[in-house]
């Protein structure tokens, strides 16, 4: 399962908003939508309002993220193409009229960016592969026909591998044959616990209001492997393989939204996400070897919002069609735009459909296109020999698209 990786694409930072084919089609709204078992992710409180007793949805996306970089001052050009396969699995069971239980497995955070080794920004990152799989048992309780609550503990298992060069100029030998000295930080099977809870309120027929909160989870990598490569002989005494500790926050997210069943055929939904990225102050890597100074890399993220709108058109029992749009703020402040997550504000255009093979079994497909404006941005906080504010930047242009497919079954 750990081979399935997600690619940084959405909601800035390393949040990946691909947690269900049906809802992705609707702009990844869903905190107030009870379409399918996907609601376990969007708002566990909604599970008890699902019509069927048993609901299961599985799906995966093929994620294609391309980033191009250039800097006219230095005639620099670079690009990176990355793919990922975020997936989700949701199952709910209405044990009692007022109680539904379920299990959700999803991958809301991840990042895979691989630049050419020793590219111009290699002192910041050569490549990074970050994965986190959330596993969450859920209970959803109907307090009245109008109101429900739900939630459950989240177990996270994840890992990160990160490679970058030690400095901008250190090589193992001199001259053109010299290879740049680099370090790989590798921590796998890092686990942590968190929770999510939500409530759903149906003030009138055809209108649902939802609120969901997913807690911050800090992935505490302990005794990860720090491996140094191509270090010149004189520095090998210092840069010898060791262990490291580092904390990576997976920030909390609050979602509020409303859905309106305009008619039997039309549903519209609006979601607002607030992701509390401000907890990501810095990437601090503390090496076990006392000879190696702690690496402090300021990130200084800010909380960020996402605005989503989606609609579903269901002309008959065989087909549902969906479309959506969202605007996604980047949590990255000016001067902190690092090529490990080179994402600026973006607009997502989504679409999807479901074809019901029979009354219980449906096939979902979705498509996402993320538009990014080209951005002139830099990371201004690289430290070199006491110079605190060495800048690296240029123009970045991202394109992300992702087709997805899923199956849903209910009875």
């Amino acid at each position: 399962m750990m081979a399935l990786t997600a690619t940084s694409a959405f909601a800035g930072g390393y949040r990946v908003s691909l947690q269900g084919q049906k809802q992705l089609g609707m702009g990844h709204t869903g905190v107030a939508v009870t379409n399918s078992a996907e609601v376990l992710f969007f708002n566990p409180a909604g599970a008890v309002f699902l019509k069927d007793k048993f609901n299961v949805s599985v799906g995966a996306n093929a994620l294609f993220a391309r980033t191009k970089f250039q800097n006219e001052t230095y005639n620099w050009k670079a690009s990176t193409e990355n793919t990922g396969t975020p997936f989700s699995l949701y199952a709910s069971y209405k044990a009692l009229d007022w109680l539904a239980v379920g299990l959700a497995v999803y991958t809301p955070y991840g990042s895979a960016v691989e630049w050419d080794q020793d590219w111009v920004g290699s002192h910041l990152v050569n490549n990074i592969d970050l994965q986190a799989i959330y596993v969450q048992p859920i209970a959803s309780i109907k307090l009245s026909e109008k109101f429900s609550i739900g939630g459950g503990p989240i177990y996270v298992t994840g890992g990160v591998e990160f490679n970058r060069n030690l400095t901008r100029s250190l090589t193992d030998v001199e001259g053109p044959e010299g290879k740049r000295s680099d370090v790989t930080l590798d921590a796998q099977n890092v686990t942590a616990w968190g929770w999510s809870a939500g409530m759903m309120f149906n003030p009138v027929d055809r209108v649902r209001i939802g609120l969901n909160y997913r807690s911050e989870i800090t992935m505490e990598a302990r005794d990860g492997d720090a491996k140094f490569a191509d270090v010149p002989a004189f520095a090998q005494g210092i840069y010898s393989n060791t262990r490291f500790n580092a904390d990576l926050p997976l920030p909390a997210e609050l979602t509020a939204g409303i859905s309106v069943q305009l008619s039997d055929k039309w549903l519209v939904a609006f979601d607002y996400n607030r992701t509390f990225w401000n907890v990501y102050k810095s990437l601090t890597v503390d090496f076990a070897s006392p000879a190696i100074a702690t690496s402090v890399n300021p990130r200084n993220y800010k909380d960020a919002s996402t605005f989503r709108i989606g609609t579903q058109f269901k002309p008959n029992d065989k087909f549902s069609f969906r479309a959506g749009w969202y605007y996604d703020e980047s949590p990255v402040r000016p001067g902190y735009f690092a090529p490990e997550t080179p994402r600026n504000d973006s607009m997502g255009f989504t679409g999807g459909l479901t074809y019901m093979i029979n009354s219980n079994f449906g096939v979902d497909v979705s498509f996402l296109y993320l538009h990014f404006d080209e951005v002139n941005a830099s990371y201004d906080h690289y430290t070199e020999d006491g110079n605190q504010n060495v800048s690296f930047g240029g123009k970045y242009k991202n394109v992300v698209f992702s087709p997805g497919v899923g199956l849903s079954y209910s009875f």
Binding site: F64, R66, T67, K68, Q70, N71, E72, T73, Y74, N75, W76, K77, S79, V120, T167, R168, S169, L170, T171, E174, G175, P176, G178, P232, A233, F234, A235, Q236, Y369, E374, D380, E384, D385, G386, N387, N389, V390, S391, F392, K395, K397, N398, V399, F401
Partner: protein, 517 residues
């Protein structure tokens, strides 16, 4: 079916448009040569143009010469091939020159010993004439008038006293009677850089001001008329066929690490005690009682008491130096000491040694090479124990120290020469890279585009990634030459309406550090 084809076509178009594209893609077309023509670029100059660093030219070091870095940028806007003298024979990248004295291998930091030292191994660079004109005509050691001197590349001139030839040019010269400038002109330059003149003052300074302030020797300051004639001839020749170019001024050489690294007062008790502080304190007390005290007493009586200070056991003590501008008080010292009961022979020696001696002050500059001299025994027959420690009990010589009057000579000559350079450039509409102004900025810290602050400091382990001077303390390292290339590009861009990309100095290497030599 038809519909399916259309959908597939739309889908295919959608995927294709998913390739990120910039509104203005950076391509070679993003840059321009402006009014300049880089099809034949020739670099004229001295060591700073040749790619000399760490005390020599080496095979790899040469690839970082600022003209070679520039030529790579010129190539983007139509620049032609750029050739440099061949160092293919320097297989192990040791530099130096074999077969003649005084050309050791390149300096490296030996991590075990700590200090800079020549890399072990014998140089494989020979004097075999390549008899070729190169685009890089930088000749280490050349003074302005040398570029016009026939025979400067004649192997026979290496053995004369003083030598009339330069081994670096011997390797290059197209004939025994060729001149550097003449060879350069055979390349029909359309664009040139001319950075010559440093050695016209530097030689005097690196020899501690022991040479003449108006002479043609290695340790002299070039006479102004000679400099002026030579410089103008060079510029007139280079521009005769309409070539454009930039010239560079002479940096204030006394700001380079060669003069600013060794403090005037390095003599702590520990240093005097050869690493043992208690021994040092004992020795200091003994010296104060038996030598420094009595000498200072006599000097004080003569109204010159500030020449010498009693040594401190807690602070760094200044070096003892010879200041040839002082009145020689040898007879008075000897006389007074003899009267005080010092044996005649000893009193005579002290008088002779301390006659023009004084302790160094913050305004004196200690040469980098003097660091290795401090504490060693002078060859003078007078230097008998305890008067046998250079800088401590025996004054360092003229060639070890630049004193204020000598610094003023260097500074005045630099200003005079730079005015000649700027006037010549202005007369021909050439760009001027004011290396003097840039050097002044480096002293306090020069902030480049990416925010890195570079200084004129000498190597230290804490500045491995930012030091821009090489280990010889005079010449930049690869990173420093990249910085210089950027300064040249700035001038070309503004003077000739060109748009050349810069290089990122931070990505260029610094000193070579070896685990062991």
């Amino acid at each position: 079916m038809k519909n399916k084809v259309i959908y597939l076509a739309i889908l295919a178009a959608g995927f294709a448009s998913c390739e990120p594209e910039f509104e203005n893609e950076v391509t070679n077309g993003s840059y321009s040569a402006g009014d300049a023509d880089f099809s034949s670029y020739v670099a004229i100059g001295n060591s700073l143009t040749s790619g000399y660093m760490d005390g020599t030219v080496s095979r790899i070091g040469q690839t970082y010469s600022f003209p070679n870095i520039l030529a790579q940028q010129f190539a983007i806007v139509g620049g032609g091939a750029f050739t440099q003298p061949s160092y293919a024979e320097d297989v192990n990248n040791l530099g130096g020159i074999s077969g003649i004295p005084g050309f050791p291998t390149r300096l490296i930091i030996d991590a075990q010993a700590g200090g800079p030292e020549p890399i072990s191994g014998a140089s494989t660079v020979t004097l075999t004439p390549q008899a070729t004109a190169f685009n890089n005509m930088g000749v280490p050691g050349a003074k302005t008038f040398h570029l016009l001197a026939p025979g400067y590349g004649n192997p026979g001139g290496l053995a004369t006293n003083p030598p009339t030839a330069n081994p670096y040019y011997v390797r290059m010269a197209t004939s025994a009677t060729a001149t550097v400038l003449g060879d350069a002109m055979t390349k029909n330059p359309t664009f040139f850089t001319n950075w010559i003149g440093n050695n016209d003052v530097l030689g005097y300074a690196t020899n501690g001001g022991s040479g003449s302030t108006s002479g043609m020797g290695g340790a002299d300051i070039t006479p102004t008329p000679v400099f002026q004639n030579a410089y103008n001839t060079i510029i007139n020749t280079l521009t005769a066929n309409g070539a454009k170019g930039v010239v560079a001024t002479i940096p204030n050489v006394t700001d380079i690490p060669f003069f600013t690294t060794v403090p005037y007062n390095p003599l702590t008790a520990s240093v005097i005690g050869l690493g043992n502080e208690a021994n040092g304190v004992a020795l200091i007390n003994q010296l104060n009682a038996q030598l420094v005290g009595p000498v200072k007493q006599v000097l004080t009586a003569l109204g010159q008491g500030d020449r010498i200070q009693l040594l401190s056991t807690t602070e760094g003590n200044p070096l003892l130096i010879k200041d040839e501008t002082l009145t020689n008080l040898a007879p008075q010292l000897t006389g007074a000491l003899t009267l005080a009961g010092v044996p005649a022979l000893q009193a005579g020696a002290i008088g002779a040694i301390f006659g023009q001696a004084r302790h160094a002050r913050p305004t004196d500059l200690v040469l980098l090479t003097t660091r290795g001299v401090i504490g060693t025994a002078p060859s003078s027959p007078l230097a008998v124990d305890p008067l046998n420690k250079y800088g401590i009990t025996y004054p360092l010589e003229d060639q070890h120290i630049l004193i204020p009057s000598e610094i003023t000579e260097v500074s005045n000559a630099t200003t005079t020469f730079n005015n000649i350079i700027k006037d010549a450039a202005e007369a021909k509409g050439l760009g001027v890279v004011d290396m003097n102004a840039i050097m002044n900025q480096l002293v306090s810290g020069l902030r480049v585009q990416d925010g890195t602050i570079y200084t004129a400091d000498y190597f230290s382990t804490a500045t491995l990634s930012t030091v821009m001077f090489s280990l010889d303390g005079v010449h930049p390292n690869a990173r420093g030459y990249a910085l210089i290339a950027n300064e040249v590009i700035k001038v070309i861009n503004s003077q000739y309406n060109a748009k050349l990309p810069f290089v990122s100095a931070g990505n260029y290497p610094g000193a070579t550090v070896l685990l062991q030599n």
